[in-house]
């Protein structure tokens, strides 16, 4: 398969780029932040995204989706990285849709996927429990009780946690924290007795939450996927999500470069545009090179995910590389803008704030570099 976008994907890219630039530019995120918006995203935008088919890119057509695969979902994520458009796309359309597709029963799929694709229902994955992503360290307990389970423990860094209508919760049903076996996923509805949701305000001004489970009771039908076997069952879904996060990071890096280069062409010092200084030219050109190389890793990973097979190596490659490049791009962007780059009024600072969140989310550079090595047995 050629490592370029096909015609259909090219069209999707153009429509996504145009859509977010027009409907949800950075000014929208700024407005949401400054008004301390309750929801943290525009519901009107989310409805329009659903109409465009963006909420169901990973959902098959039988369940109301557009079935564009990881390639399509990554293309749209990259567009959102360029505009920092806020929506539950990542939480619901990407992560939860992938987990449900990978692990849920047909009945659960038929029940949940159409609601995700139409944007009607926002589902969030509650996975991390401490400051570092490490799914196997899950301690939140689900104890069998009658014909159901009782969940006790806490979750943090839950993407779109405070606006979700339901949660996919990774819980320990046997074994001890650190074991990859003994994990299971449960679907918990918003408002369940004993579930406390605290919104956490993070650097990116987007939606994150901590959840506390104080003996939350769910039925036996709340189990999604195999009992005790969730780690393996959802790993491919997490990897798809990681690849798509890498695509958003790529969009952020590219946008930082483009804005910086434009500034280099305009800003004058010492009687000439600063873009004529070789010290800056070389930094910009180096960044360009890193972004191009990152683009290839992300593209390859997206293709691999849609082709099937083991994608762990590809996902860790793409996420690690995108983390590193986004870090470089956001730092360089501020430095090359000088003082104005540090002002809140200027948009460039929004990118670094979102980038660090995404770099941390679902495993940072170190996590994925280590996993990349482990995949090649060293």
């Amino acid at each position: 398969m050629a490592l370029i976008l096909n015609e259909e994907q090219q069209l999707l890219k153009e429509s996504a780029d145009g859509f977010f630039a027009e409907k949800a530019p950075i000014s929208q995120l700024r407005e949401l932040r400054d008004s301390r918006s309750e929801t943290g995203f525009s519901e009107a935008l989310w409805n329009e995204m659903a109409e465009m088919g963006f909420a169901g890119l990973l959902v098959d057509e039988d369940n109301g989706g557009t079935d564009f695969g990881v390639m399509g979902a990554g293309i749209v994520a990259e567009a959102m990285g360029r505009t920092l458009s806020a929506s539950p796309y990542l939480a619901s359309g990407v992560i939860s849709a992938s987990v449900i597709k990978a692990a849920a029963s047909d009945a659960q799929k038929a029940n949940l996927l159409p609601a995700i694709a139409s944007g009607e229902k926002i589902i969030a994955l509650a996975i991390d429990e401490n400051a570092h992503h490490r799914p196997e360290s899950t301690a939140l307990k689900a104890t069998a009780d009658g014909d159901g389970y009782v969940l006790s423990g806490m979750k943090t860094f839950v993407c779109d946690g405070h606006v979700a209508d339901a949660y996919l919760v990774l819980a320990r049903t046997s074994g001890a924290p650190g074991d990859t076996s003994g994990l299971s996923v449960f679907l918990v509805e918003k408002g369940a007795g004993g579930l406390i949701v605290d919104r956490t305000v993070m650097t990116d001004s987007r939606n994150w939450a901590k959840l506390t489970f104080e003996g939350v009771r769910v039925g036996a039908d709340a189990l999604v996927g195999p009992l005790d076997g969730a780690f393996d069952a959802i790993e491919p879904a997490l990897d798809r999500a990681r690849i798509i996060v890498a695509a958003e990071l790529l969009g952020i890096a590219q946008e930082c470069l483009d804005r910086t280069v434009e500034y280099l062409r305009e800003r004058k010092q010492f009687g000439t545009v600063i873009g004529s200084f070789q010290g800056l030219q070389h930094r910009a050109s180096h960044l360009f090179s890193e972004i191009e190389v990152t683009r290839s890793a992300v593209l390859k990973a997206m293709q691999a995910a849609d082709t099937g097979g083991d994608v762990r190596w590809f996902a860790s490659l793409a996420k690690a590389k995108a983390c590193k490049t986004a870090e470089l791009a956001t730092n360089e962007a501020i430095q090359m803008h000088g003082g104005i780059g540090m002002t809140d009024e200027f948009d460039i600072g929004f990118f670094i704030k979102r980038a660090r969140i995404l770099q941390t989310f679902l495993g940072d550079f170190n996590y994925h570099a280590d996993r990349f090595a482990a995949c090649s047995s060293y």
Partner: protein, 390 residues
């Protein structure tokens, strides 16, 4: 079966039958490469057999037209051939500046007669070429070159000096930039000419590298006669051809093939802990970081080829590939030396295969100089891709 699938299975069968076993082992450095040419001594009968068999099918230059000694393959077929060769770890049958530099330039700018005369000999490895670009006072600023060609009607008389001419002492012919006019800007008045290194007045003097080898020379021209029929393209307009050739040279330098991953070299040298990990955790980290970049770069070469195939213009993108690929290769060899510790710094003796690791490491330092330095590539990216002012 589609045509391509048929092509794949036939190619696989042919390679299986025709590639000698010794040509399926990794090359241990430049000495194992087959360079061809009038002066070349084959390292083994297998090396010669492999070259002749591949050349008979035009597969030393798979995509060149058959009338010029090529295989006439489509880019898709060539990709399959390359993949099938990789599959059996077949060595490249012929390494040559003629193939990766001069050939593409002649195909684009040469006359039919010039192509007929030179390309088949390149394809069969009969004539070895060298590149006469750099001069003592024209390195990064190549267009300031001064080697002079005086018009004598049907020929020129060339006088001047080139430097860093790789393998000039072993080459049969040279593609050379000469100044045929010095009245205009420095980019005007350069002509791209070809001549035999055995012409009267050509002499070479090897220069020894820090790696201990002397693969390149000073090259002197003292009243050398060059026929005008050996001018490629138009007189005084050789700069365009020179630059086009450089994009091929740069893409070529950037493509290190698929070298053995560092983690495998490190495991061979250091073994692993009980958990299967390399014993030196900081080295493991550095290797992983490097291999992430290296894999991403391999996919970038793949993407660049696919984009070119789809009609995209490589142009200055080759500067990015050259910059990234060569910096990566330098880093790779730094890590190989680190992995091998003091063993990696042996200079002579049988344990180290005559200092192979150290010498290879030092040779890579030239990667970011030859073909235009890293700084020059970054200048090109700034100007041609990012559109920043000079």
């Amino acid at each position: 079966m589609t045509d391509l699938e048929t092509f794949r299975s036939e190619t696989r069968a042919w390679l299986e039958e025709n590639c000698p076993a010794s040509m399926r082992t990794p090359m241990r450095g430049d000495d194992d490469a087959c360079w061809g040419g009038r002066k070349f001594k084959f390292a083994s009968d297998d090396q010669k057999t492999w070259l002749d068999r591949m050349a008979s099918r035009g597969w030393t230059v798979p995509t060149w037209p058959t009338e010029y000694g090529g295989g006439g393959l489509s880019k898709d077929e060539a990709k399959i051939l390359a993949a099938e060769m990789r599959r059996i770890k077949a060595r490249s049958p012929l390494t040559s500046f003629g193939i990766w530099m001069l050939g593409p330039a002649l195909l684009k700018f040469g006359t039919h007669e010039q192509k007929l005369e030179h390309l088949p000999k390149i394809a069969r490895g009969e004539i070895r070429w060298c590149q006469g670009y750099s001069e003592p006072n024209a390195g990064s600023d190549l267009a300031s070159l001064a080697t002079k060609a005086e018009d004598q009607g049907d020929h020129w008389i060339v006088n001047g000096q080139k430097v860093w001419t790789s393998y000039a002492d072993q080459a049969d012919w040279i593609f050379c930039l000469v100044r045929t006019d010095n009245t205009g800007t420095k980019h005007h008045g350069i002509s791209f000419v070809l001549f035999d290194m055995e012409s009267e007045g050509v002499s070479t003097k090897p220069i020894k590298l820090i790696s201990g080898n002397s693969p390149f020379c000073e090259t002197f021209f003292d009243d050398v006669k060059v026929l005008k029929s050996n001018l490629v393209g138009e007189e005084n307009k050789g700069w365009t051809i020179a630059k086009y050739l450089l994009t091929h040279e740069r893409t070529g330098i950037s493509d290190m093939g698929m070298p053995t991953p560092l983690n495998m070299l490190a495991k061979d040298k250091l073994g692993t802990n009980e958990d299967g990990k390399l014993p030196e955790s900081m080295l493991r980290h550095q290797i992983a970081e490097h291999e992430i970049d290296a894999a991403s770069f391999v996919f970038t070469l793949e993407r660049a080829k696919d984009e070119a195939k789809a009609g995209g213009d490589m142009g200055a993108f080759s500067s990015m590939l050259k910059y990234y690929g060569t910096e990566l290769n330098k880093q790779r060899h730094e890590l190989i030396v680190k992995t091998n510790g003091s063993d990696g710094l042996e200079w002579e003796g049988q344990y180290s295969n005559e200092g192979d690791i150290a010498r290879s490491w030092l040779r890579t330092k030239a990667n970011s100089i030859e073909g235009g330095t890293s700084e020059v590539q970054l200048n090109i990216i700034s100007k041609r891709i990012l559109d920043l002012p000079a």
